[in-house]
């Protein structure tokens, strides 16, 4: 049985996101698959507009199933009008890392003008900065 990670972008108008997820759960279970983790991250503004919309529901699923089940899921996602985008990634196992996409961004560290690279601290480099806006 293979492990897959699925990310769905569902249209923001649909109110039946949880029902849709449950239907897919039942389909996977009927084919002797295992669902390790599901997450409805809620409505988020998209980084780029898709299907002429700026917002979408983000759904993430970690499942374990056969290859044939995964292919059927793909065709189901493609036929579903409410799903704008789907990505299915194969994994070695179903360990889950928390998604940092949703966390609020830390305040940007202003980069000072250093005379030499050696004076830079690592913290200033790791945090995202926008030097073009400042320069």
């Amino acid at each position: 049985m293979r492990h897959y990670e699925i990310i769905l972008l569902v249209k923001p108008d649909s109110d039946q996101v949880n029902d849709m997820i449950e239907r897919y759960h039942q389909f996977i279970k009927s084919k002797s698959g295992v669902i390790h983790h599901t997450e409805n991250m809620g409505r988020q503004t998209l980084v780029y507009p898709t299907h002429k919309l700026n917002k979408a529901y983000f759904v993430r699923m970690n499942i374990e199933c056969d290859c044939a089940v995964q292919k059927e899921l793909r065709s189901k996602f493609a036929l579903n009008d409410a799903i704008m985008k789907y990505t299915i990634i194969r994994r070695d196992d179903s360990t889950i890392k928390p998604i940092t996409f949703l966390q609020s961004k830390e305040p940007e560290v202003q980069r000072k003008h250093f005379s030499s690279y050696s004076e830079r601290s690592e913290a200033a480099i790791i945090a995202p900065t926008e030097t073009a806006a400042q320069s």
């Binding site: 990310i7 972008l9 998209l46 980084v47 780029y48 507009p49 898709t50 002429k52 919309l53 700026n54 979408a56 983000f58 985008k85 990505t87 990634i89 890392k97 998604i99 940092t100 996409f101 966390q103 961004k105 830390e106 030499s116 690279y117 050696s118 830079r120 690592e122 480099i125 790791i126 995202p128 073009a132």
Partner: protein, 81 residues
């Protein structure tokens, strides 16, 4: 690497990253590897090894497709008829 006598070695934000996989949902980390026009920076600029750069590009392209990162900096606003 040859020692650079004119300038100390650059510190890369990806120096402490696992070599097995880079999390593609970590958009804060991956945004540091994009230019202003949201292109992927080169390994020379980021001071990355070849293996690390490959993992990075794989993660960025996955994130772009999944909707966590942009492909470019300017998108046309969708026209609603």
């Amino acid at each position: 690497m040859k020692p650079n006598f004119y300038r100390k070695q650059k510190h890369s934000p990806f120096a402490k990253v696992d070599l097995k996989e880079i999390d593609y949902t970590n958009s804060q980390l991956l945004e540091g590897a994009l230019t202003d026009t949201k292109k992927i920076k080169s390994a020379r600029v980021l001071n990355n090894s070849a293996r690390k750069q490959k993992l990075l590009t794989k993660a960025i392209k996955r994130a772009r497709h999944a909707g966590f990162l942009p492909h470019c900096d300017k998108y046309e606003e969708p026209k609603i008829h």
